[in-house]
């Protein structure tokens, strides 16, 4: 195994400084070359964050001051001292865990995917300098973000408790030490994971899990609100929460020593405080140096790049098998007229694009996370809707009668509304970015003898079919639970299918006009201003399309007509207009599609 030695002619810290200066220079250049409005927004956002930190500091200081007041203990009967002592422990543990997890993705990118490692390692700078810089680069933004919340809270705690002066610099020092230790351990984790999985695949899985978790956590708040919107937090519950937090403050966890030591120092318990803080700093330094040395050794020796888990390959198809599988397309039905029409529509290039897009959607986890979010969203809001029993929210009883009546009437079509809403969300991704998703591979379609109409048909179907399936899934699920009659369900099914088709046509056309083929990261493929315009038009279109189907049903009693007239009117109006929206926008832009990707 190679050993890593630091050449005396190339000292570590000047090299680290050089590499950091390079990063700073890149950041300054990026800032310089952005548009003025973005520069102003960046400065304003920076000042806003500072103001926010100041506000947290002030609020936590005053609030903690209040919690420490003897009157509170006397009147409310709550002893908050254990909770206050546990606060630094919670914050510092959160900091460590936060840095450990958040650095993982950044380090994976910095060590394996950024592409500059070979260049840096080949240049005459110590390897350790490269690793230290990469670690700093990975942790600084996250450290800044966590400090923005944690530091004002800890300083507020110190001020409210009249802690000793030493407490304040040591808080910062401890945070830095824990951050470096967490980043070091994170780099080891990254290298271990990259040994098992290809780095790009690991990044995809991480992005998928992160996106799903973030989305689920963001939306679960609404679900919990719907379950307990009327519940008030009692004093006993607050007291329980305080004691639960205090229970976390056990001396057996090494991560707790930092917080306990800082509180002890602040309160003037010098021996305990110094011992615990020194222990924390020492352990952090050892963890950081060990992780750094091990990570760079594993990386340099190539151990980290050798994947140990071999991928299970699919059994190779022989030429004969492949030939056999290719003979299945023509069949006995091909002479039947609708089938012939369908065959004319679904030509080989259309089939090819459909098949390819479905494969790519399924395989690329970064796409999948965007596609699963409407499903999660739909499930959460369906539960909320069904729990409410189709009734409007209680409110303060100030809404006029006509509003309540209209709302209740609308809610009786909640199955359609939910299906349309979920469909709108999914179409925004699938249809709006149907062309952008081709990215730099678009040359394959463009240089092939594929008509614009074939491309538009394929992209229409790629977006429409999964959306229809998801929409029908929600429609059917809610209709069953609402015990909707079969006739009403079939009418709703047609309404959903046609509304989504029209929406798809609009979004597809605008997405194609604003297609962006130059992205590197799929999250940045958004179709630009025209795509946004399409989304806005879609938002306007959807209620109109819904009313075209449902409006006649409401108007029938007013004109004293039989209900069937309402259904017929809805069908004629709705199918005609939504059919036009499905067909016309793509047809109008077909000549523009032929010129896509030429700029």
């Amino acid at each position: 195994m190679n050993t890593i030695t630091l050449s005396p002619s190339h000292p570590l810290w000047p090299a680290v400084w050089k590499l950091i200066r390079l990063r700073v220079l890149i950041s300054i250049n990026t800032f310089k070359h952005t548009r003025t409005i973005r520069k102003i927004l960046t400065v304003v956002a920076g000042l806003g964050l500072l103001a926010f930190a100041g506000m947290i500091f002030f609020l936590s200081w005053r609030l903690l001051d209040f919690l420490r007041s003897p009157q509170l203990k006397q009147y409310a009967g709550m002893d908050v001292a254990p909770f206050l002592q546990a606060m630094p422990v919670i914050i510092l543990t959160g900091l460590f865990a936060g840095i450990l997890l958040s650095s993982f993705g950044v380090l994976l990118q910095a060590l394996y995917l950024s592409g500059d490692m070979d260049f840096l390692l080949a240049s005459p700078v110590p390897i350790r300098a490269v690793f230290v810089t990469k670690l700093l680069q990975a942790v600084l933004p996250n450290f800044g973000l966590i400090s923005l919340f944690g530091l004002p809270l800890l300083y507020g705690l110190g001020l409210s408790g009249n802690y000793h002066f030493f407490y304040y610099p040591l808080v910062l020092l401890t945070m830095v030490a824990l951050t470096l230790a967490a980043a070091g351990l994170s780099s080891l984790l990254v290298i271990l994971v990259a040994r098992i999985l290809p780095a790009r695949r690991a990044a995809e899985i991480l992005g998928f899990i992160g996106a799903i978790l973030a989305f689920t956590c963001g939306q679960s708040g609404n679900l919990f609100n719907s379950f307990g919107s009327s519940a008030n937090v009692s004093g006993a519950q607050v007291s329980n929460m305080f004691s639960l937090v205090a229970r976390f403050n056990t001396p057996w966890l090494p991560l707790n020593w930092a917080g306990q030591g800082l509180v002890a120092l602040g309160e003037g318990r010098w021996l305990t405080g110094s011992l615990l803080v020194a222990l924390t700093l020492g352990l952090s330094a050892v963890a950081f140096l060990f992780a750094l040395a091990t990570a760079e050794r594993w990386y340099y020796t190539g151990w980290a790049s050798m994947q140990v888990v071999s991928h299970r390959k699919k059994p190779l198809r022989t030429a004969r098998h492949a030939v056999d599988s290719g003979t299945t397309r023509p069949n006995a039905l091909s002479n039947v007229s609708p089938v012939r029409g369908l065959k004319r529509l679904l030509t080989a290039p259309v089939w090819g694009i459909l098949w390819k897009d479905f494969l790519l959607l399924r395989r690329d986890l970064r796409n999948l996370s965007q596609l699963i979010s409407p499903l999660i969203f739909g499930v959460i809001y369906s539960v909320i809707f069904l729990r409410a029993g189709g009734q409007p929210p209680a409110g303060q009883g100030e809404a006029p009668d006509w509003f309540t009546t209209t709302f209740r009437s609308l809610m009786s079509y909640g199955n359609i509304l939910m299906a349309l809403f979920v469909g709108w969300w999914l179409l925004g991704r699938l249809s709006g970015m149907a062309f952008s998703s081709e990215g730099k591979n678009y040359w394959m379609l463009k240089s092939a003898p594929v008509r614009a109409s074939q491309m538009l048909t394929a992209k229409f179907l790629v977006a429409y079919l999964p959306t229809l399936v998801l929409g029908v899934f929600f429609l059917a699920g809610i209709s069953i639970l609402q015990k909707t009659p079969l006739g009403g369900f079939l009418y709703s099914l047609l309404a959903v299918a046609m509304c989504l088709a029209g929406m798809n046509g609009i979004l597809l056309a605008f997405g194609a006009l604003g297609a962006n083929f130059k992205w590197e990261d799929p999250r940045k493929m958004s179709a630009g201003q025209l795509g946004c315009l399409g989304q806005l038009l879609g938002m306007l279109y959807l209620p109109v399309a819904f009313l075209l189907f449902i409006g006649p049903l409401w108007l029938v009693p007013v004109f004293r007509l039989p209900p069937v007239a309402g259904y017929l009117g809805g069908l004629v109006l709705g199918v005609t207009i939504t059919g036009c929206c499905a067909f016309l926008p793509p047809w109008l832009i077909r000549s523009r599609v032929e010129r896509l990707g030429e700029s």
């Binding site: 290719g326 494969l359 240089s447 003898p449």
Partner: protein, 282 residues
């Protein structure tokens, strides 16, 4: 795979009745690529300025030029990826602007950077290309296996393209371009990143395709390849075609004593002074 494998591959294709028309002898010596007064501007800058040339069937045409001379832009116009500002381009007799579909159906393209669908396997990619060119499924399946075997990619055929090395991506890109046995093959730097064996294989394939009547249009920086492989060579500099002809014709354009393509190229593109300085620095 060697030259014998290529011959086997082409003999298989010849048996396929769909290709009898394509392989007809009338392609040889007829203009398969005709570029007339081609201009391509990006704003005020002319990337290609009034270029006219012709490539016949059965001919390997080398397109040379310094970086940024307009080679890739010309190629992108030929294969229909870019719209020209002025002028016309015909491929296999079809105007790329007014009859794009038959023109594209007749041509195959290998780009300089093989941007391929990363999450498709090699086999799936070839099947997809077969669908795009509306080939019969049975043919697609058969030709896929043959091409995979010819390019030594059979063992990696079920791996996704993002796990391929640059050379493997280049080879699968070339295999994709050969799926429909094009009358015109346009290649932008085809040998970059290839191992010597694969580079030799590609050279053999191109020569055989030309012998069968196809027109090969390739841009390269490797002057040795151009000198050895190409029947005619065009040199483009600052968007303008400054020389076209066989090696002998180019020699007659250069100064006395300039016998190698490198000397002629440097003499014509103004790189001779830099070459002299480099020689002194040795």
């Amino acid at each position: 795979m060697d030259i014998r494998s290529c011959q086997v591959f082409w003999s298989v294709l010849r048996k396929d009745e769909n290709f009898i028309v394509i392989l007809g002898g009338n392609m040889v010596n007829s203009a398969m690529i005709e570029i007339n007064n081609l201009v391509k501007r990006y704003g005020d800058k002319a990337a290609v300025n009034n270029v006219s040339l012709q490539v016949n069937g059965g001919e390997v045409f080398g397109f040379l030029g310094p970086n940024g001379a307009g080679k890739t832009t010309t190629i992108k116009v030929i294969v229909g990826l870019l719209q020209p500002t002025a002028g016309t381009v015909k491929v296999a007799g079809y105007d790329v602007q007014t009859q794009p579909l038959p023109a594209k159906a007749a041509s195959g393209y290998v780009p300089d950077t093989p941007n391929l669908y990363a999450k498709l396997t090699g086999r799936e990619l070839l099947r997809f290309v077969g669908d795009l060119y509306d080939l019969d499924r049975k043919q697609v399946a058969q030709r896929t296996e043959e091409l995979l075997q010819m390019f030594d990619l059979t063992s990696a055929a079920d791996d996704t393209v993002d796990s391929y090395s640059h050379g493997m991506q280049q080879k699968i890109s070339l295999a994709a371009a050969l799926m429909h046995d094009p009358k015109v093959l346009v290649l932008d730097e085809p040998t970059v990143g290839l191992d010597p064996k694969s580079a030799r294989l590609i050279k053999d394939i191109l020569r055989q395709m030309a012998d069968r009547g196809a027109a090969i249009f390739l841009s390269t920086h490797i002057l040795e390849i151009a000198e050895r492989m190409c029947d005619r060579i065009g040199i483009i500099n600052k968007g303008e075609l400054i020389a076209v002809g066989t090696m002998d014709e180019l020699r007659s354009l250069g100064k006395a004593g300039e016998t190698s393509l490198e000397d002629i190229f440097l003499g014509l593109t103004g790189g001779a002074e830099e070459a002299e300085i480099a020689e002194i620095l040795k």
